[in-house]
């Protein structure tokens, strides 16, 4: 059945507690809107988060939810998804929660292709703990914990996810609610793990980090929209992406044969091209691709787990514990035993 919900059906009575102006508000609105649009019963959604500003998210979405512990949401969500294929399980995490302490659970959930929709709010900072650099912060960033500038070379979340065998990888940005919802739609339709990096502005500790793809001026030149089946061009068509010597390269459109321009195909089985596109930027500092990098189908972990159970059951019939216990060799002591001995010392 589909219900006609409005966004407010997915709002809770809990007061939203982010700093005024935080990008999290926009993402929350986009997600609530999207959920309402699905018309799927509210009770079938579960939102699991870790710890961080981003991870407060579940309190504000009127579905089932868990605000768990730092970095562990993907593991907890795996327990939900693999035991309850009837649910739609979402993970909300941050660049610290998801890529720092939670990095291992994230990459393992992705390789297993557990049916999870993973939204990573990347503000390139630790917000809740008041502003330390994160695994996505740029080198040289000065923060409370890096007064002389960070010396940590950052992850490229899209590259990392692709290297971890993710079957669906995308990137969007808080400010663009339409783009966000379009991506959510594809992620939701995808069977298996969907990883979405969402650029999210932390106006208190890392303001304007994404200005290159959000600024009225800047985005014109720097936002590269990846659209399935379309050639990868940007800057109003002035610039294009081609493959040169196995690497994705930005050129003036005018300077190349249009046929040389990469036509984006998110369904390529081989992630090499998606990976190459992810290398066009190493952070939102210049031309940066947004959209779906990869979207391929592969058996999902939860489906496989349940298939094995169904098969075993149909093969061997539902388990009979008494039979199982007696399966390893038994012997019987008769009512009256000739050689009756009492108990002695030993």
């Amino acid at each position: 059945m589909t219900l006609d919900y409005t966004r407010s059906d997915f709002q809770t009575d809990q007061e939203v507690r982010w700093c005024p102006g935080c990008g999290d508000y926009t993402i929350l609105a986009s997600v609530q809107q999207f959920l309402a649009g699905l018309g799927r019963p509210r009770e079938e959604f579960v939102f699991v988060s870790g710890i961080g500003c981003a991870s407060r998210f579940p309190y504000y979405v009127n579905t089932y939810g868990m605000h768990s512990i730092h970095g562990r949401a993907p593991a907890i969500a795996t327990g939900i998804a693999s035991t309850r294929p009837d649910l739609s399980v979402w993970v909300i995490t941050g660049d610290g929660d998801g890529m720092s302490i939670g990095g291992n659970h994230l990459i393992h959930a992705l390789r297993r292709n557990v049916n999870l929709k993973i939204l990573m709010f990347n503000n390139q900072i630790y917000g809740l703990t008041k502003g330390q650099y994160s695994p996505t912060s740029e080198v040289g960033k000065t923060t409370k914990s890096s007064p002389h500038g960070s010396i940590d070379y950052p992850f490229n979340p899209v590259s990392l996810a692709l290297g971890a065998e993710a079957s669906f990888v995308a990137r969007t940005v808080d400010m663009d609610r339409n783009h966000t919802q379009a991506i959510l739609e594809k992620a939701y339709a995808h069977e298996g793990s969907s990883f979405i990096e969402i650029y999210q502005n932390c106006n208190v500790f890392n303001d304007k980090a994404f200005i290159q793809v959000t600024g009225k001026e800047e985005r014109v030149h720097n936002r590269i929209d990846l659209e399935h089946g379309k050639p990868v061009v940007f800057d109003g068509g002035a610039k294009a992406v081609i493959f040169r010597d196995g690497q994705a390269t930005i050129v003036d459109s005018s300077s190349v044969d249009p046929k040389a321009i990469v036509v984006h195909d998110e369904t390529r089985p081989d992630p090499s091209v998606a990976f190459a596109l992810s290398r066009l930027s190493h952070g939102p500092y210049g031309p940066t691709p947004l959209g779906v990098f990869r979207n391929v189908t592969r058996p999902t972990y939860d489906a496989e787990m349940n298939r094995q159970i169904a098969e075993a059951t149909s093969k061997r019939g539902p388990g009979d514990l008494d039979k199982l216990i007696r399966s390893i060799g038994t012997w019987t002591v008769a009512e009256t035993d000739p050689s009756g001995n009492g108990s002695k010392g030993n």
Partner: protein, 627 residues
């Protein structure tokens, strides 16, 4: 089956003049990891079980996968005690030792009791093996073996001979050596031979020549006994008068796994086991992963944190959620267990204890995680702790852990250890229907004013909160690790609320004491001294008490299966004895709890040597205290 019968060994007339009848017998098989001693021991055990003896076993293998052949670290052993009455341990000193090579002799001879029987594979006592074992001359020609009845058998040679027509060849030939030893033992101790032959035929049905070789070698060993001049005396242990019923021989890990499946049926919840392999807990995963037709889901996670995390998710989603590990892995889980405690979701955390600290002694038993179980989490997070006393008890304690977890909506810690996990004992198969159910009622309807659902509105009897699983319309709710407001479950930083919730959580767990059996005193209730135990010391404590009684003294014993909360009558019981002895395989952890709880000056007997208590150690201590 015909094939088997025609292979079978003719019954012999036990010649009384040369047969000593014993009430009990301790046998230890020792050899190289590659010599198949665990298998030989297992067969000997099963044959004795089917024969009707009571028995208890104690396997002991090296931490290495397979240390170099012939070396001391490579020695693997298996001890079994069989008796014509109900026994409690695998015994202290063996009456008979099988040493397949010099290293095995070097490592185990010291344990063989005076005048005991020593069976050696003389072919293995060459230069190389002797030096690997650290002998500079052959001990068999020395005073070292004086005082024992030594039976030397050239097992390599005789095995080769025996199997030469069976089709096996090369390195595989000597693989049958252990069956030679087994055959010799079967003769020496009047074990039924057919069960072993049948087992071999079934086990190797796909490899008929291997089956033939093993049986040939088994017979060769048996015949060697009959024909050898080495000994004319044989031994017999008659069947025990165990309570009537059907028995199987079971290890603790297997019993625990089956107990979880039983709990799943009794609760009506699908079983989920999220874990990461670790010795000695891995076999629980192995066993459960074989029973998918029971609806059992096993998840081999990337680490222990993901293991417990997945269990928390499964619990939230409505499964009987279990995670299991050993010390190092439990340490990693502690932050998440604290979350489960805060969420008040039911789940079981299994800790199969091993020697610590750190990586410690991964294949040895120890009880050093008791205080860790009670206090190994940050913040005020008391969780129920229960412990299995014997291999078969693990079946019941798994069910009990599930009952408490579900009834009280709380994580429960279930303690086992490497001894309970790998030792085996005959288990009188219970009537499963007689085990009470504890079917779960998920919340289905709002429990608050104007259709609101209040996830922390409690059952006034158990103080448990409602369990509302995703998919239930109208009960959508959010829970988390921040302190939450009573009843509503919303985040709350209010001081008095934190006090209230802290007290409530503690009270809920403490109140479980009213729902568990009282501690039972066994033996001489009117004794001056009580021996209090928990976990795997059960058998040794009771056996020691028996010895003391045989020596004409009075002693009572009691065993704790619930470590938190304690049974309500524990304090009164302890105070009613002049002296209380608490033997533990740690530095005195239960002792510390008893002192703190009851201000009672109990005495500890503590051993941290990576091996169980010898009955004598406890008996001597009791005697010392009685004097």
């Amino acid at each position: 089956m015909a094939e088997a019968t025609e292979q079978s060994i003719p019954e012999r007339e036990a010649d009384a003049s040369t047969t000593e009848v014993l009430d009990r017998l301790v046998i230890r098989f020792a050899g190289d990891s590659g010599d198949g001693m665990q298998l030989a021991g297992g067969r000997f055990t099963d044959a004795s079980a089917l024969f009707g003896n009571d028995l208890a076993t104690l396997p002991n293998f090296p931490a290495e996968i397979r240390a170099p052949a012939g070396t001391l670290p490579g020695v693997s052993s298996f001890q079994v005690q069989i008796a014509d009455f109900d026994i409690l341990t695998a015994g202290d000193a063996p009456d008979c030792l099988v040493a397949m090579n010099p290293a095995a002799l070097m490592k185990h001879l010291k344990d063989l009791r005076e005048g005991g029987t020593l069976i050696v594979n003389s072919d293995a006592f060459d230069e190389r093996n002797l030096s690997k074992a650290g002998y500079d001359s052959n001990p068999l020609d020395s005073a070292l073996v004086a005082g024992y009845r030594v039976i030397e058998a050239p097992m390599d040679e005789l095995t080769k001979l025996a199997v030469k027509d069976t089709g096996v060849s090369g390195r595989d030939v000597l693989r049958s050596k252990n069956f030679f030893a087994l055959g010799l033992m079967a003769w020496l101790f009047h074990r039924p031979t057919q069960p072993t032959i049948d087992w071999v035929n079934q086990k190797f049905s796909r490899l008929p020549e291997v089956a033939a070789a093993n049986i040939a070698s088994f017979k060769a060993g048996y015949n060697f006994g009959e024909t050898t001049e080495a000994t004319k005396v044989t031994f017999e242990v008659r069947p025990a008068s165990l309570p009537p019923g059907t028995y199987t021989n079971i290890t603790g890990n297997q019993a625990l796994a089956w107990g979880l499946i039983a709990a799943s049926e009794k609760s009506g919840l699908p079983l989920f086991y999220g874990t990461y392999p670790i010795t000695p807990a891995s076999d629980i995963l192995h066993e459960l992963s074989r029973h998918k037709n029971f609806g059992v889901r096993t998840f081999q996670a990337e680490d222990e944190i993901a293991g417990v995390g997945s269990a928390i998710g499964a619990a939230f989603a409505g499964s009987l959620a279990v995670t299991g590990s050993s010390g190092p892995g439990i340490a990693l889980k502690s932050e998440a267990i604290s979350l489960a405690f805060m969420l008040e979701l039911p789940m079981i955390i299994i800790n199969v204890q091993r020697g610590g600290p750190s990586t410690g002694l991964p294949t040895k038993p120890e009880q050093s995680d008791l205080l860790f179980s009670l206090y190994g989490r940050h913040g005020e997070s008391p969780i129920p702790v229960v412990a299995a006393a014997t291999p078969s008890d693990a079946f019941l304690m798994a069910i009990e852990a599930a009952r408490l977890a579900i009834t009280y909506m709380t994580p429960v810690l279930l303690l086992s250890d490497n001894y309970v996990a790998n030792a085996s004992e005959p288990w009188l198969i219970p009537d499963l229907d007689s085990i009470p159910e504890f079917k779960v009622e998920f919340a289905k309807h709002p429990n608050g004013p104007d259709g609101k659902f209040l996830p922390y509105m409690r059952n006034m009897q158990t103080f448990a909160r409602p369990w509302a699983v995703p998919g239930t319309p109208g009960l959508e709710h959010r829970i988390g690790g921040l302190e939450k407001e009573a009843v509503s479950g919303n985040i709350s930083y209010d001081p008095s609320n934190h006090q209230l919730m802290t007290d409530t959580r503690a009270w809920k767990v403490a109140n479980i004491a009213s729902d568990i059996p009282p501690v039972v005193v066994e033996g001489d209730e009117d004794a001056d001294i009580l021996v209090l135990g928990w976990g795997s010391t059960y058998g040794a404590n009771k056996a020691a008490a028996r010895r003391v009684r045989l020596a004409g003294h009075k002693v009572a014993t009691a065993h704790l299966r619930h470590l938190n909360p304690f049974p309500q009558n524990l304090g009164d019981v302890l105070r009613s004895y002049e002296k209380v002895l608490i033997p533990e395989l740690n530095t005195g952890q239960l002792l510390r709890l008893i002192r703190a709880e009851f201000l009672l000056n109990a005495t500890g007997l503590n051993k941290v040597a990576g091996e169980p208590f010898k009955v004598a150690e406890i008996a001597d201590k009791i005697m010392e205290m009685i004097k």
